[in-house]
Amino acid sequence: MLGILKSMATTARVALTRKPVTIQYPEVHRNIANRDRAFPILIWDEEHDEPFCTGCHACERACPVECMTVVMKDNPKHATGESKRRKIIDEFWIDYGRCMRCNICVEVCNFEAIGMNNTWAGHELSRYDRSELVMDLDMLLSQSKQGKVEPGLRA
């Protein structure tokens, strides 16, 4: 009998003294850590007004699930002397539906051109159709171009 009373006392205690742990999303977003690994995004170079990414295929080769497609081109800004990068990224697709957010692409990148999105925008990516989850270059650069993201960890 006492055990049952103890269970009931526990539930009563929780009901009366503890606050509910519910966070009312979407009005309230909880703080996510600096190192949070949402999906990868490309970083924009403010000085030279071009992406850091040169299209070297390192991340594409290292990806375990083969979710990236990279096409590089000759950098027009190199010819005019504005930038030191000989090649620049032409087209870049990441299939967010395949990405397993393992961070390996960030680790192997030689130019620190790719980073994991650590904001809520990286998590709120619901789409109605799977094909809309394939992100192209503009979508990947958009957050960084607007200056909205500071990637957390560069290993």
Binding site: M1, L2, G3, I4, K6, S7, A9, T10, T11, V14, V21, I32, A33, N34, R35, D36, R37, A62, P64, M100, R101, C102, N103, I104, E107, M116, N118, G152, L153, A155
Partner: protein, 375 residues
């Protein structure tokens, strides 16, 4: 006195399907129970709904890419799986892991044991019939630990944090304080669950005497982990074949007497307390700074042509990796020894002869992870 009419009545045993979709949280597992009235006469488990060819996929991954797969195979005790995988490679390549990395690995693995056992407590309460209270007591505590893991590794569930030779990167600066906070919450959670379930007479009546296995049966079926210890066999890999730096910590291994469902629950509850103690010892002993990756690590990890079997004490039992390498940076064959699969083999013996309602409780007490069973 048997009436003539009674002898002519034919009774059949009724097959009941507890299908791949369970209201309990165990994953896609199908059980066909043959019941006669209320007693179970036969059990036929059907597995394989979650087979994804994980071991074959790992053959195409090098030793950094495969860590994410080890995570996803044992998705409730990820750090145990990662630890096993990287220690297998480290043993082949004879790499010495630095001290600080070892301590952090142990801390994170034991915290992961806490999350896994909290999950068990939540799900087990539901199996026994509690409306959901145990679940909502266990999960906020699990959330606190997962927030810590997010701060350290970047992800809440699939960490991919351990690497061959150490860790991917160092922990945050306030790691020790955060760990202490998390441990405080966890102890409160363990007390809550203990108050709610352990001495509740209805819970005890549901769990005591159900699905009992003797020590000989447990060893014969190849059980491991809390199920083996609940049957009275004092075997724990951290004690008997210490790996990593477990030989530096003092703790106690809980061993049950009756081998029934209640003992398994008690063993897991006690293991949670011991995990808290191990984490506290490790936090105290941990060097304040130091490298977290082994020095002179080659850029491409090539293992010599050899084979190794590495095992760890995962929350569910003995999680092992049998790695066969033919040189090169990818394994030739990687087999994962899954504790849930071996524990599940005892299901029939445990369930036959019990009541129908006990089948759910017994399955819950095994704490299986379907990804691990099916790989």
């Amino acid at each position: 006195m048997v009436l003539e009419q009674d002898r002519l009545i034919e009774t059949i045993d009724m097959p009941i399907n507890m299908g791949p979709q369970h209201p309990s949280t165990h994953g896609v597992f199908r059980m066909v129970l043959l019941i006669s009235g209320e007693k179970v006469v036969d059990v036929v488990p059907h597995i394989g709904y979650m087979h994804r060819g994980g071991e074959k996929l790992m053959e195409a991954m090098d030793y950094r890419q495969g860590i994410g797969y080890a995570d996803r195979t044992e998705y409730l005790a990820q750090f145990s799986a990662e630890l096993c995988y990287v220690s297998a490679v480290e043993r082949l390549m004879e790499i010495q892991v630095p001290e600080r990395a070892e301590y952090i690995r142990v801390i994170l693995t034991e915290l992961n044991r806490l999350t896994s056992h909290f999950m068990f407590m939540g799900a087990f309460g539901i199996d026994a019939g509690l409306f959901g209270t145990s679940f909502t007591y266990a999960f906020p505590q699990r959330e606190y630990i997962q927030e810590l893991f997010e701060e350290v590794s970047g992800d809440r569930l699939m960490y991919a944090y351990f690497r061959v030779g150490g860790l991917a990167w160092d922990v945050t600066d306030n790691f020790v304080e955060r760990c202490h906070e998390v441990l405080k919450h966890s102890q409160e959670g363990i007390r809550d669950i203990d108050d709610l379930m352990t001495t509740n007479e209805i819970f005890m009546a549901r769990c005591q005497g159900i699905g009992a296995f003797t020590a000989e049966q447990a060893i014969a079926y190849g059980l491991s982990g809390p199920m083996l210890r609940a049957s009275g066999v004092p075997f724990d890999l951290r004690k008997d074949e210490p790996y990593s730096i477990y030989d530096r910590f003092s703790f106690e291994v809980p061993v049950g007497n009756y081998g029934d469902v209640y003992d398994r629950y008690l063993v897991r509850l006690e293991e949670m307390r011991q995990s808290v103690s191990i984490v506290e010892q490790a936090l105290e002993q941990m060097p304040k700074d130091g490298p977290v990756v082994a020095e002179k690590l080659p850029r491409r990890l090539r293992t010599p042509p050899a084979e190794v079997y590495a095992k760890v004490e995962a929350p569910r039992g003995e999680w092992g990796v049998y790695l066969v390498s033919k040189g090169g940076d990818k394994p030739y064959r990687l087999k994962m020894r899954s504790p849930s699969f071996c524990n599940l083999s005892g299901l029939r013996e445990m369930t036959v002869g019990q009541f129908l309602a006990d089948a759910v409780v017994i399955l819950g007490s095994m704490d299986i992870v379907l990804c691990d069973v099916d790989r």
